[in-house]
Symmetry: C2
Subunit: 232 residues, 2 copies
DNA sequence: GATTATCATTGACTTAAGTCAATCACCTGA
DNA sequence: TCAGGTGATTGACTTAAGTCAATGATAATC
């Protein structure tokens, strides 16, 4: 636990997408109910089925939200970094967390307890609208993920991900995979062996060049086609 | 277009899960901006990529929300019935509709235009919280769907759906499939041929008995196991 | 800096589920 | 009533992707 009236925390919260545009006074109230907590790499933040008494913001580090099948296969739903909120579902819909959360790196999180937070939302329409925008955005992402899992094959999902990284990193045709290949496989709904083969295949077909975690896009149009059609 | 000060519309809106607990006055404002529109069976309500200038409530009938791949395979995201809202994502997150909507039956819908509605939300914290609850619930559903598509095989998804129908219909071990088998296949992320084979398989294994669209659960525990483990 | 773990890649094989095609059973409307 | 469309089922076959296993390559840790 940390000094909650910390000016820097107030400032940081105000720069977060969830809380931009909020009045100074509300930000201070928010800061007053916030707790900063630390998690070591690989530490569990919450598990599926845990009661949700509040939600989190990533202050530093990286967090993975995922589900796991009885025989151990993992599906990653999100990778969250600084500024991103997570674990809101049980705050508003009641019930427990629908998935697991672990820290991928040593991380510092801001925890916001449910009841205090709800009171703040009720008193602050701008905050409510920001939250509605965030959840709607999340729904849009999930829609895309369902589309990908159900209607596209692994090469198509991989192509879409490479294009996404290329756009996000804005470094022309050069991009870095931001996850281990095992984790990337889990994000794309496949396994490392298949991912490895598909990366090789994209290279063999002349769409990309691979150097470890560095990828160069050689045929962007080909990648776009693959991402849209979903298969070779 | 219809008389918007219609008392019955105000009453109906107030019984909707989205608007329960709202003050009479706000309900009347809501009713004032609402338009009732009719769609024939199979009519398109909106398509992926259309700008979203508002969202809908199902008043009567049934609506399917779905995505479609370039080669025509369909994945159903939701089937909505009376009282359910849909098409909210672009209202709060901006941009266009992420999926398609068509009427499965002749339907009457209530359309709520974006800008007027946002103003109402900003003035009405209870409404904002109801909306947050609805979107969070939707996220929970999507999480389950991603889990099913990625981590469970078709028989497991089918078993989960049968258990869901059995609970919803509350008629003991007897249940009705509420969709054509083609549509059910699309909801479960498969095709009619596979669904047909898997239904036969569940019957052959002694878990269910099939009589057309009527299903009797014979071995509920077996179905639960199958739904949880995700495969035979 | 040596020693474990963990991660990545490749090959051989299996399997769940999709494709293609044929048949049957319907409704529904002309 | 009959013809034509739609939906359901079954069989034979194909295929995308998973499993299992072996080997190398890193990277973390004492």
């Amino acid at each position: 636990m940390i000094d909650n009236t910390d000016k820097s925390l107030v400032k940081w919260l105000g720069e977060t997408s969830l809380f931009v545009g909020m009045e100074e006074q509300h930000l201070r109230e928010l800061s007053g109910i916030a707790m900063v907590v630390s998690y070591k790499r690989r530490a569990t933040i919450f598990s599926e089925g845990d009661p949700g008494n509040g939600f989190y913001l990533v202050k530093e580090g990286k967090v993975k939200i995922f589900m796991i099948s009885p025989d151990g296969k993992e599906q990653i739903l999100h990778i969250f970094g600084p500024g991103d909120p997570f674990g809101e579902v049980p705050v508003f819909a009641g019930q427990s967390f629908p998935a697991h959360a672990v820290a991928l790196e040593n991380s510092r999180l801001v925890f916001l307890p449910r009841d205090d937070f709800i009171a703040l939302v009720a008193a602050n329409p701008a905050l409510a609208l920001n939250l509605l925008a965030a959840l709607s955005q999340r729904l849009r992402q999930f829609t895309k993920m369902i589309d990908a899992l159900s209607l596209k094959e692994v090469p198509g999902r991989l192509a879409a991900h490479l294009l996404y990284l290329s756009e996000k990193q804005a470094a022309g045709d050069h991009l870095q995979l931001e996850l281990s290949k095992t984790q990337l496989a889990s994000l794309l709904g496949t396994i490392p062996e298949t991912l490895s083969r598909m990366l090789s295949k994209l290279q063999r077909e002349g769409l990309i060049v691979i150097e470890g975690a560095s990828i160069s896009i050689v045929d962007r149009e080909g990648l776009v086609d693959l991402a849209e059609i979903g298969k070779f």
